[in-house]
Symmetry: C7
Subunit: 96 residues, 7 copies
């Protein structure tokens, strides 16, 4: 069973933001709006342009991303914490 997000929304499985990752990113605990890491598990069709077309979302399923903690909507699916947020709430893809 899966979620198909609408518009430019993305479904993300949150990863533990507290630990220092192998790649060396530390997310400071004290920050007011500290970013979180997560893995993309579903992607919407993209934002609707005035032309009536949609612009493809810039991440794909499987991407690891950084996003703001307080954006989007939290939900629990099959025991996992997931988040539905808009593409604009994703700061960056983590690669390598």
């Amino acid at each position: 069973m899966t979620l198909n997000p609408l518009d430019d929304r993305v479904v993300i499985q949150a990863l533990d933001a507290e630990e220092t990752t192998a790649g060396g990113i530390v997310l400071p605990d004290s920050a007011q709006e500290k970013p979180q890491r997560g893995k993309v598990i579903a992607v919407g069709p993209g934002r609707l342009l005035e032309s009536g077309e949609r612009s493809a979302v810039s991440v794909v399923v499987g991407d690891e991303v950084l996003f703001g903690k307080y954006g989007g909507t939290d939900i629990e699916v099959d025991g996992s914490e997931i988040k539905i947020l808009r593409e604009g709430d994703i700061l960056a893809k983590i690669v390598g």
Copy 2:
């Protein structure tokens, strides 16, 4: 007797958000703006673009969807609780 929503509005029959569904989605009770499940029962013609055309709504009658609890307008029709909301208030379609 039916409702024909205007613009990009959608009419949704709310489902019970408290119970764990067969598919495994748990909607946490404590969330400030917890999402709700519902079934689409009517769909408007879509948002008006500057070109004068309308962009088709991304859900169809019969779709099961997740939406924000506090968006839209509540109404009771023939004994059922229904909600009229805009396409932008729908987070995702639930499939499978």
Copy 3:
């Protein structure tokens, strides 16, 4: 004597929102912003697009509609309570 609304405004004769209608719609009394029923009695030329054209309003004279209670402007004409509101304040057409 009649009113010709400007832009995408619509003139509506309000119907009693308290009673259960024949068609079965109950408008809950406790809702903060409960919708009201009404009959369209005049329709403006539509919203002006950047192209200089106007997009036709989605309701016509005689339509029965649901609309938000607190939108628009109330006025009394020939003893009837009427309301002038914008097309965007109309939630749905009631049919059948």
Copy 4:
């Protein structure tokens, strides 16, 4: 001596809003933002579109109109109370 309003502004000579008119419109005294009646005495060239053209104002000199009491700017010309407001503050033309 006359005023030539700019943009989509309209100059209106206010009529007495308290009395029941011959045509039967009663403007309720208790309304928070009660509409007023007035006669159009000057009309601007219209709102500027992104194309650089202007869209003609929907009322002409001589039209009787309904408008919101608190919109626009009050001024006294040759002993008459007049109001300069934007086309969007006019609710409807009164005809017949």
Copy 5:
């Protein structure tokens, strides 16, 4: 020595708003945001449109205008009180 206003700004030499003018305009003293009279002494190239062109300002040097008292920026040049404001803050041209 002169000022060349940018964009759709206009430089105006304020006239005394208190006196009843020959033409009969009385600017009521009690109004919260009473309009002022002034003479246009410089005009900018106009507002930039998305096309990259500019739309000519609707007043020319020498026009007498009505404008809101609290809009724009006050400055003193060669002993005269002048005001730099945007075209949108001008209500009307006074003619005749």
Copy 6:
């Protein structure tokens, strides 16, 4: 060493706003948001239009300008007080 401002930003070397200039402009000391004089020392490529092009900034290096005191960002370069602000914060060019 120089600064290349981005977008429609302009780098300005502030001039003393208190003194009466040779040209006769007096900037009143009591004004809440009194304008300041300055000399343009660097100009950005201009605001990005939806077409993807940029519209050239309306001032060039060497122009003397009036601008709002509280707009933009103050910085000190090589002992001089400079300001980085957007073209829209410039009121007028001073000529002659």
Copy 7:
């Protein structure tokens, strides 16, 4: 391991804003929103235009820039303090 910012975001390695630089820029300590210096280490694909195209970001990897201290999101990667912000939060490139 690197970060690929989305949209018109830029990843910047902050430089010490307190010291007087060789080039002579002093960033005043008392300013409410004092700008900071930094080096661009990653650049997103650019802002999405309504045409569906993206406009290239105006800085490239290696550029030294001035930006507002409170914009964007702070993060620590491999022991370095970095910042992810939007192109619009960058004031100027520092050259020479």
